[in-house]
Assembly symmetry: C2
Homo-oligomer: 376 residues x 2
């Protein structure tokens, strides 16, 4: 909010009143001043005062009066999701993906640039910068219009937005992503681990919308997990939750080896999809390789399920596109180990899920600001 | 609250006012009517009205005026924890333990009766009934004075207070504990798994008071876990959380076998404590057996830690009395597998921790009632 389009100081009380009005208008329904006054508990005069001010700042928009009302219809107001823009960035081993959205999270532009997994830190950051610039240009948005930014990255992230440890990209450990992105856009920048944000995206816009306790499994070149507990992203004491894969007994370290062996024997230069493709076509060795992969994946997944007893397990990541050959074997393995096998769903996102979670993180920041009072 | 000592209907509004006053007085500080009026937002007259009523019902008590005040000192009031009684019961394989407390959870009587692990369901229930009757008599309390009851049991419990599944006591599966205990005492009866309640007790009165994310490990004849997440007991979708022990890869199924083998070789009829005793005295085989036990325990414990990244691990259960020979090896094993080894603390409870958790469950019920309005 450091680049608010229309300036001017708000007293603390007016800030709180404005927050109360905005909170009510974050719902889908436009409201009249009378309704707003009733819901916020503010006097009619204060409500009018606040609404006029927020209209001037562009935060509210007037909606055409409801038809069919008798007499002069009352004006209705809604939150103006177009007042500002959000940026969500996913930077990983193989790609940078940036989303520019409005304040409701509606995507205005999605830009994806491939990165060489072998790229060094500087090169990877440069690709990310290009990706952000292209997404902004594609959405017709100036950097200054971005109110809040979320960044998803591979690796463990500390509270300040620095990457603490990345197994898959060792040169990435130690990069201060928050500081780097703050040079590109104004406003708050929050950084979070990609599995955690993928989980968040599933509860926000994905297949886990109805569930309060969710285990999200990233099944792909890496295996990872993100946890939603009691409707909230579970981070843990040092933000290192979901790392069951580090435990050899959980099977995730060795899981991809079944697929790698098949690729070696088939001496193909094709990607992992080819194993799933071959399994789908009935190749016995490929089927065996997929089963082996799922068997190992299921041990760690069962550990998560037995620990948390979630309502739902969501499978995402690159291999989730081969869900048709993976989900039934996985369910059978979970049945083998779990006291209660939860529902299993496959992510409906292509590869934008993680970046959408980053947008949700940026939106959390905006909503927290609305809740606690607007910054001038 | 179905057996309130002083009867009479409260209108809904008066109930809410009374709830507001009681909520404020649940803190440690006695308050004057002026302070109560300010904190609750009620008028002075309403506050006086409510206070008089609650005094009459025995819910409030007057405290001697603060000394040193100028003029006539104002009367101060506190919550009367003696207005009602709570009952906490722990029924397990080897014992029944009952606590009778006041509404602050201060223990008035603790009664323990040993049960034969081979006892049938009826016999075990009869011992529990005797234990409750003895605890009530010991506290000089009539069953009718019990406002709320918590029951801890081995096994998985459903939402209605029925034991769904007990591995250690197969004959116990299916027993409707809530219905049974309701025949003994009036008021609400809640039933919960013993590991979960032990975890709750640690955050309430034990070594985990300061922590928001806690893994409680029950290390004893059985191995189990209870999870506190974000300051609350984590139950899971079907109340089956913490059951990592069911996964063979977690090591808990085989962990006690190291100790059993030592006991067999030593051909002693002494209990498990003798292994720890021998290890403490430097017996090499016993030390090896304890290490083997800890090594297996640590795999499942690491799975919990890597999943949740808790601030604290608390070791409870019978073997926790041998913490001096167990904690350091456990810490080393956790260091081996975990990305971040949390602080490890040993429960300070003897064997009343689980029953204390049951009291906390009973108290939750009373406080929920105070929050949402008193029942007449």
């Amino acid at each position: 909010m450091s680049e608010e389009p229309v300036g001017g100081d708000l007293s603390r009380l007016r800030q709180l009143n404005a927050s109360a009005v905005l909170r009510e208008l974050r719902g889908d329904q436009p409201l009249t001043l009378t309704e707003l006054s009733k819901r916020t508990g503010l006097s009619r005069a204060s409500t009018e005062d606040v609404a006029r001010d927020l209209l001037g700042r562009g935060w509210l928009a007037e909606v055409a009066p409801a038809s069919g009302s008798v007499g002069r219809p009352a004006r209705r107001y809604r939150f103006n999701a177009g007042a500002g823009r959000l940026l969500g960035v996913d930077i990983g081993g193989h790609k940078a993906l940036a989303l520019v959205t409005d304040l409701d999270g509606e995507v205005l532009n999605q830009t994806r640039i491939t990165v060489d997994p072998e790229a060094g830190r500087r090169e990877r950051l440069a690709v990310m910068d290009r990706c952000v610039a292209k997404a902004l240009a594609g959405a017709g948005v100036e950097a200054g219009q971005i109110w809040s930014t979320g960044v998803a990255t591979t690796g463990l992230v500390d509270g300040s937005g620095k990457v603490m440890l990345s197994d898959s990209l060792p040169e990435w450990s130690g990069v201060d992503l928050a500081a780097h992105v703050r040079r590109l856009v104004p406003g708050p920048v929050r950084v979070e681990n990609d599995c955690k944000l993928a989980a968040l995206a599933e509860t926000w816009r994905g297949v886990a919308r109805y569930a309060k306790d969710v285990v999200f499994l990233l099944a792909g070149l890496r295996t990872g997990a993100g946890l939603i507990i009691d409707g909230k992203l579970h981070r843990g004491f040092a933000n290192w939750s979901g790392e069951i894969g580090a435990l050899p007994a959980a099977g995730w370290l060795q899981a991809p080896k079944h697929l790698e062996s098949w690729l070696e024997n088939a001496s193909t230069s094709a990607g992992f999809e080819s194993v799933f493709l071959a399994a789908r076509e009935g190749d016995r060795d490929a089927t065996r390789a997929v089963r082996g992969y799922v068997r190992d994946l299921a041990v760690g997944a069962s550990a998560l399920v037995l620990t948390l007893d979630p309502q739902l397990v969501v499978i995402g990541g690159g291999f989730s596109r081969s869900a048709d050959v993976m989900v039934e074997p996985l369910r059978r393995e979970l049945d083998r180990w779990c006291l209660r096998t939860p529902e299993i769903r496959v992510s409906a996102f292509a590869d934008e899920g993680v970046a959408l979670g980053a947008v949700r993180l940026a939106l959390d920041e905006v909503e927290a600001t609305i809740r606690t009072g607007l910054r001038p």
